[in-house]
Amino acid sequence: MDPSRITLRKFRPTDADDLFSWAGDDQVTRYLRWKTLESKQEALTFIEEVCMPHPWRRSICIDDCSVGFISVFSGSGEDRCRADIGYAVAVEFWGQGIASKAVEMAIPQVFQDFPELVRLQAYVDVENKASHRVLEKAGFSKEGLLRKYFYLKGRIKDLVVYSILSKDESI
């Protein structure tokens, strides 16, 4: 795919239909805390009440249509040097390097928007190999396997932790 077609921008209410098409899909939300959306109305509410007020959430767009998301949550206090990144992409766009490209694009923006940030990290389910590859392609380093780290959708999970540092970033 021509990479110039892939862009990141804030969510808009007009993204509701597109959001519903991928966030209404269990395969996409499988490893997310998100509840799979059940209607376009729910999608609109989700955009207005969650996505738009979020401190850092972007729609991954192809030709300006939403096909996924990237979110960053930053810490405070002793955790202020650290932030967590999460993402998902519609199934029809899996396996084409789109999530990797989106994450690569997000990294410099994130380090710029969070001036105290030194470490961007991601926790990925040990089973979610495709997501491991997204991070590796985007330049993250695998640091370890955290056993029985938390519950997701009722199951206790082993997670792999990946990170990229502000100094890893080549300008």
């Binding site: 650290r82 029985k148 519950y151 206790i156």
Partner: protein, 186 residues
């Protein structure tokens, strides 16, 4: 529970037995608390700053330590020489507990904290049946603390680069964990 001074740790000391006990903290422990909490050599690796007054210590003991979900002082002959705590996660993180400990400098190198950690590990999974993972995050340059966890049977899971800010510097830290299903000495 007895701790034997090992020659390799004690630099040729005569073997002694130190009986350590764990009990809840009390306001009357404040002077003993200040022995470790006001010592820069001890607080160097701690997230919190060195205590500078008894009033500050009393405030901490009353408002944080006593109400804490699981905090004990480590005692020799009922005098507090340090503390150990497990902070539980909530919601999706309730399977996880964070271990922390601190010990007066003069008692370092005698296997005391290792023994205290073993005592905690042998009871906490029974007290909290939903707890599956006890974890500890230690700065890479805190060798003493890493040895404690290794000796207590924790597994090193990874090096987390620039994980937290400690005393104004971002530090590389190591993640250790002990699962309820792991084999560990009691």
């Amino acid at each position: 529970m007895s701790v034997n001074l090992d020659k390799s740790e004690g630099e040729g000391r005569v073997q002694e037995s130190l009986e350590i006990t764990l009990r809840p903290i009390e306001l009357s422990d404040v002077d003993d608390f200040m022995v470790w909490a006001a010592d820069d050599k001890v607080t160097r690796f701690c997230l919190w700053d060195t205590y500078t007054s008894k009033e500050q210590a009393l405030n901490y003991i009353k408002n944080c330590a006593i109400p804490h979900p699981w905090l004990r002082v480590i005692c020799i002959e009922n005098c507090a020489i340090g503390a150990i705590s497990v902070t539980p996660g909530s919601g999706f993180d309730r399977c996880r507990g964070e271990l922390g400990y601190v010990l007066s400098y003069n008692y370092w190198g005698k296997g005391i904290v290792t023994r205290a950690v073993q005592m905690v590990a042998s009871t906490i999974f029974k007290e909290w049946p939903y707890l599956e993972r006890l974890q500890a995050i230690v700065a890479t340059d805190n060798n003493g603390s890493q040895r404690v966890l290794e000796k207590a049977g924790f597994q090193l899971e990874g090096l987390l680069r620039k994980y937290r800010v400690i005393k104004g510097k971002t530090k590389d830290e190591v993640m250790f964990s002990l699962l309820s299903t792991d084999n560990f000495l009691v």
